[in-house]
Amino acid sequence: MRTFVSKLMLSLAVAVSAASFSAPVAADDVKMVGVITKIKMASDGKSAVATLKDNKSGDSVTININDDLTLDKFKDKRIVEGDEIRAKYDNAGGKNESKSFKKTAGC
């Protein structure tokens, strides 16, 4: 049992490591860390626009969010204005479509 658990954990750790090196970032992807200054939900609740103040440049960046997991976090206030976010978005055509939007890790 002990050997099995050890092997299982090792296999999963290797899988995670492999996955982390096999996800190339698309050319138009932009990563940033910033504090949310405004969240505006669409009236139908199926999209939102979040404005972030870039920690590095101080510029305001507007990101469009369409994924349900993040929208759910907006709806039940797990992500609110003032939270620091690590975001990745596709800025092709200046649309700034969110690809990842999560609170900065740490604890």
Binding site: M1, A23, S100, A105
Partner: protein, 460 residues
């Protein structure tokens, strides 16, 4: 007459010739005058515009300065850097049960001591004196036992005494304890301060007390044999989690440095959020622990320690992160002294969460406790005032679990979890004399499965 008329006509004509010249001269003068007025007006307007421009520039500068001041004020405002939260819990319990008959070991020793002393003082003969001395010698020798072999030798050599102690056995018959109403107050104050852009300090202060009592007697059975293993007494690892007093204790206090090297890497140190981890948050109806916390099946103990973690951005594994944790379970104080052979108890853990989303969160955890102590420091328990007296060896803990929320299942959202744990001991051949020699020479494994098929929460 004719000549006069002609002259008059010529005169009129000549005069007429001069008339427009004079009128034109007057018009030019007027124009010049107007131009002059207009020039003056233009100059005045230019002046005004320049003054306006200067005022606009000044206003702009003032606005910029004001904006800067507001920005700085916002940065300094408590709303921006300090978050205050908290919770209050009132709980009413009604407890009842039924015990089995048992021999109260502590009471047996006390009974033997009391009876032998009484017999000696009533009749101080060599026989009663020897009996009392024998008991005292027995207790003294027992406290000196440190290893499994010594314990076996001790029990072999003292078989007669142990048999004789049976004559003083304090038998406790079966009974039905009950506490119809037990009310408790729990108040928690949460503080989160953003010290710098990447450094946050979090604290949680907790008061947890019983209605009508300033101690833990109501849950530890007032120094008699307790009913629950985790309610023997309150100590450093359970302070604030067991009703004890009206003091506001520090349950958590830790500083976290995030975004190290511009990556999702963090380092955190302090009194850790190592209690109420997943999936116990479902029972407590609190948010998921996020990157903090440990699986509650393995660790639900207030540790002082530190963590370094990394949350890589993996498209196929949203929310994935891993961390290495270290904690000190017991600080033994100065070593190499005549009176202290105890070593510190430390904990090392590795946690891998390959996915952390609402529908699915998976965790894998390994912990090792080094040099586990035999008893925590507790006051006034059934076992008396306990304290670590010996290190018993190491323990490995393995955990694997998952939880998630499925939306709109039946009447609402469905929360599910399953958690598997296993512990493997690595004894060091020591035994604990204060608890009747628990301890082993060979490794043992224990397993546990913690699962609830589902828990419904109404849809919002």
């Amino acid at each position: 007459m004719r000549t006069r008329h002609v002259r008059t006509l010529i005169g009129v004509l000549v005069a007429g010739l001069f008339l427009p010249i004079q009128a034109r001269a007057e018009s030019n003068a007027e124009l010049l005058k107007r131009i002059e007025v207009l020039s003056q007006e233009l100059t005045r307007l230019k002046g005004q515009i320049e003054a306006n421009n200067a005022a606009t520039t000044a206003n702009r500068q003032a606005t910029e300065e004001l904006r800067e001041k507001v920005g700085k004020a916002e940065e300094k405002s408590s709303e921006r850097w300090l978050t205050i939260g908290g919770d209050y819990q009132f709980r009413a319990d009604s407890l009842w049960g039924e015990t089995k008959p048992f021999t109260d070991v502590s009471a047996t020793f006390a009974n033997a001591q009391a009876q032998l002393q009484a017999a000696f003082f009533a009749n101080p003969t060599p026989a009663t004196g020897a009996a009392l001395t024998g008991l005292m010698q027995f207790a003294q020798n027992m406290s000196g036992v440190r290893t499994y072999q010594q314990a076996q030798s001790f029990m072999g050599a003292n078989a007669a005494m142990m048999g004789a102690l049976g004559n003083f056995a304090a038998q406790v018959p079966a009974y039905k304890p009950r506490n119809d109403t037990l009310y408790t107050n729990r108040f928690g104050l949460d503080l989160s301060a953003k010290a710098t852009q990447d450094v946050t300090v979090n604290a949680r202060l907790v008061m947890y007390k019983t209605f009508g009592a300033g101690d833990d007697d109501a849950v530890t059975n007032s120094g008699s044999a307790p009913y629950f293993a985790d309610r023997v007494g309150v100590f450093d690892g359970t302070l604030g989690h067991i009703p004890s007093s009206s003091y506001l204790n520090v349950d958590r206090a830790f500083a976290t440095w995030s975004n190290i090297a511009d990556q999702d890497i963090w380092f955190s140190v302090g009194r850790r959020p190592s209690t109420h981890g997943a999936p116990s948050n479902l029972r407590l109806n609190t948010p998921r622990p996020g990157n903090g916390g440990t699986p509650s099946l393995l660790v639900d103990y207030a540790f002082d320690g530190m963590t370094v973690g990394w949350a890589p951005d993996i498209e196929g594994l949203p929310g994935a992160y891993g961390k290495i944790c270290y904690g000190r379970g017991f600080e033994s104080g100065f070593r190499s002294t005549p009176g202290n052979s105890l070593q510190d108890t430390d904990m090392l853990g590795v946690s891998i969460i390959p996915i952390d989303t609402d529908p699915l969160r998976v965790w894998m955890q390994w912990n090792r406790g080094f040099k586990i102590f035999d008893a925590p420091k507790m006051q006034g328990t059934y076992f008396g005032n306990t304290a670590p007296k010996i290190n018993l060896g190491d323990i490995d803990w393995y955990g694997l679990g998952a939880m998630g929320t499925l939306k709109q299942v039946g009447v609402g959202d469905l929360n599910y979890f399953a958690d598997l744990g296993m512990s493997i001991t690595h004894p060091n051949n020591n035994v604990s004399a204060q608890f009747g020699f628990p301890g082993r020479t060979r490794s043992r494994a224990g397993r546990s499965l913690h699962r609830i098929p589902g828990q419904h929460a109404p849809s919002s």
